[in-house]
């Protein structure tokens, strides 16, 4: 498309993108400014848009602010790490089955996979709550961790689309060399899936790191809360008589945002350059 654009169009592109970027970025700049504000500024609500104060110690203070922020972070990690590992690999295995192996009942199962994407989690929320209550898992992290270990439909669908673009000749060659189905998966398919594995890992990370609804349902004790829920509790508790400690809330928000940014930074080349999304045609 570039070739059809004159310099005028080019300038217009930069102008539009710069304006849009500025608008989208502004809230985050403001968050940083609030996070770096002194308590005095917070109490008088006299924040400026660009940071004028640099209270970096807020990032240390938040850990001693009466909230177990360190504990929150640890809890979030306990949710995210197993989810990333098991979700990514179980989805890969399942998608390999759907992409490459034939069996009676396969088509029906795949239709079920696709239709589960339409089920609102809320239809399942009450029975799942009963299930976990029966298991004695309420007020533990297990109801949030365990369901995220098993392949989910969205990831299976995405990965299956990706595998279908890998030439089957590779499998056939490997089979002639004596590899079984799992050997082919392990040695041929899995290494070629790295971009989509990375993408699913990023999606799983960001979905679980900020997970709010599950913890809201299941967690009562403050020291068992993940960061997202802890932050909400912090902002809701303090909105009574005194001003909420907005600088601390925004420091907390930044701590919640930062790991997602770091993970994204390292995975972004897979997200754009693998062209894997183009393969997810054929949602039918």
């Amino acid at each position: 498309m570039n070739s059809n654009n004159g310099t005028g169009a080019k300038a217009r592109r930069y102008a539009i993108l710069t304006v849009v970027s500025a608008i989208l970025c502004a809230p985050l700049v403001f968050v940083v400014s609030i996070a770096l504000s002194s308590d005095h500024t917070t109490n008088s609500m006299s924040f400026s848009f660009f940071p004028t104060e640099w209270h970096w110690e807020n990032f240390v203070r938040v850990f001693n602010s009466g909230l177990p922020i360190g504990r929150f972070i640890l809890n979030s990690l306990m949710i995210v790490i197993p989810a990333c590992i098991f979700m990514t690999f179980s989805s890969a295995l399942v998608s390999y089955g759907f992409a490459r192996l034939n069996a009676p009942g396969k088509n029906i199962l795949f239709v079920i996979v696709l239709s589960t994407m339409m089920i609102p989690g809320q239809v399942l929320m009450i029975p799942q709550f009963i299930l976990f209550r029966t298991l004695g898992w309420v007020n533990t992290l297990l109801p949030i961790i365990v369901p995220n270990l098993f392949a989910n439909a969205y990831n299976v669908f995405l990965m299956r689309q990706f595998i279908t673009r890998i030439p089957t000749e590779l499998d056939e060659a490997a089979e002639i060399d004596g590899l079984g189905y799992f050997g082919i998966f392990n040695r041929i398919i899995l290494p070629m899936m790295i971009p989509v594995l990375a993408a699913v890992c990023v999606f799983t990370f960001s979905a679980n790191w900020g997970s709010f609804f599950g913890p809201l349902l299941y967690i009562n004790d403050e020291d068992k809360m993940p960061l997202a829920l802890g932050l909400q509790v912090l902002s809701a508790q303090s909105s009574g008589a005194q001003t909420p400690p907005w600088n601390m809330i925004m420091v907390g928000s930044l701590i919640l945002i930062l790991p997602v940014l770091i993970v994204y930074y390292f995975a972004q080349k897979y997200l754009y350059e693998s062209g894997m999304m183009a393969g997810s045609a054929g949602i039918k």
């Binding site: 498309m1 849009v20 199962l109 339409m118 609102p120 972004q268 997200l271 045609a281």
Partner: protein, 312 residues
């Protein structure tokens, strides 16, 4: 989903049979993690919730069968239900198409090569990486009436901004604003889709002397319809399931002006302990999402272009 060959099977099935069985076994071994998760966390809970929706269960006593009473109550005897349903539709109908159009426009500006593409892409994607809890808190602050930053910006232009989250007419547009802030997620999917369009097609279009708009409408657009469609379906499903934003920014207020289906279901179940009624509401929502997704799915034959179908 390539179907097995329909041609009559060759005589020699000695090896074929075992191979087929072996393959089937391997298939079921591979998909077993999904089957386990599906049965335990989806299928059984679904039947349980369907059952509960016909009871008066309050989460403590044994449930009594009340037939379709919960469904009748929702449609005829709960004025809040229609209000909440209306808000949910309002949110979905405005935010989904708007997000899609903006994502389509931005992805066209951001695709292919140009200087600084990485920076622009990152900035535009950045907000969608912000967890909804943080985003909700940030917007709650930005939208503060009078001295909030958004009203402050508006006042520069001489506009007296509304009280946003406290104003029944502006609270849903405010929540929609948050969804537009996170338009980057859909945008990156479209960027990779555009980058996946074979370059030869553009070269051919250029040789034919096609202009910018014709190239877009005749090549880019049809080639990325599968991803647009994917964004549309997941967008609709997501919009009808909005929860975090509402819970954090307004808790459904003021006076239920921003209450939506899922927070309403949550309240019915875990605040009022009307588990049976909440289950019925969840099923109504499920059917609505199914019907709309089904309609969109059906329409896809008319406008979604699959390369594989042409090759056939």
């Amino acid at each position: 989903m390539s179907s097995a060959t329909a041609v009559s099977k060759p005589r020699k099935k000695r090896k074929g049979m075992t191979r087929k069985t072996r393959e089937a076994l391997a298939f079921y071994a591979c998909v077993s993690p999904w089957i386990f998760g599906f049965v335990v966390f989806t299928a059984v809970p679904m039947f349980a919730s369907l059952f509960l929706s016909f009871t008066d269960w309050d989460s403590f006593q044994t449930p009594n069968w009340v037939g379709i009473q919960n469904y009748v109550k929702a449609f005829t005897d709960d004025p809040l239900f229609w209000k909440v349903l209306g808000h949910t539709f309002y949110y979905a109908i405005v935010s989904v198409p708007l997000s899609l159009l903006i994502a389509l426009y931005l992805s066209n500006l951001l695709a292919r090569d140009f200087k600084g593409k990485r920076i622009y892409r990152t900035i535009i994607y950045l907000p969608s990486l912000v967890p909804l809890v943080s985003a909700g808190l940030i917007f709650k602050w930005l939208l503060k009436p009078e001295d909030g930053p958004i009203d402050a910006v508006l006042s520069i232009f001489g506009i007296h901004g509304p009280a946003w989250l406290l104003d029944a007419n502006w609270v849903i547009p405010a929540i929609i604003m948050l969804s537009l802030w996170q338009v980057g997620g859909g945008t990156i999917l479209l960027i990779s889709a555009i980058n996946g369009v074979p370059k030869e097609l553009y070269e051919a279009a250029e040789l034919d002397g096609a202009g910018h708009y014709r190239t877009f409408w005749n090549i880019t657009f049809p080639m990325i319809t599968p991803i647009l469609f994917f964004n549309l379906v997941t967008g609709i499903i997501g919009a009808f399931q909005v929860f975090d934003q509402v819970y954090i920014m307004t808790a459904g207020g003021p006076d239920n002006a921003s209450q939506m289906m899922v927070p309403y279901i949550y309240n019915s179940a875990f605040k009022d302990f009307h588990m049976g009624y909440a289950s019925a509401l969840a099923w109504i929502l499920f059917v609505i999402i199914m019907v709309i997704s089904g309609a969109v799915l059906k329409s896809s034959d008319a406008w979604v272009f699959y390369e594989s179908e042409v090759k056939k």
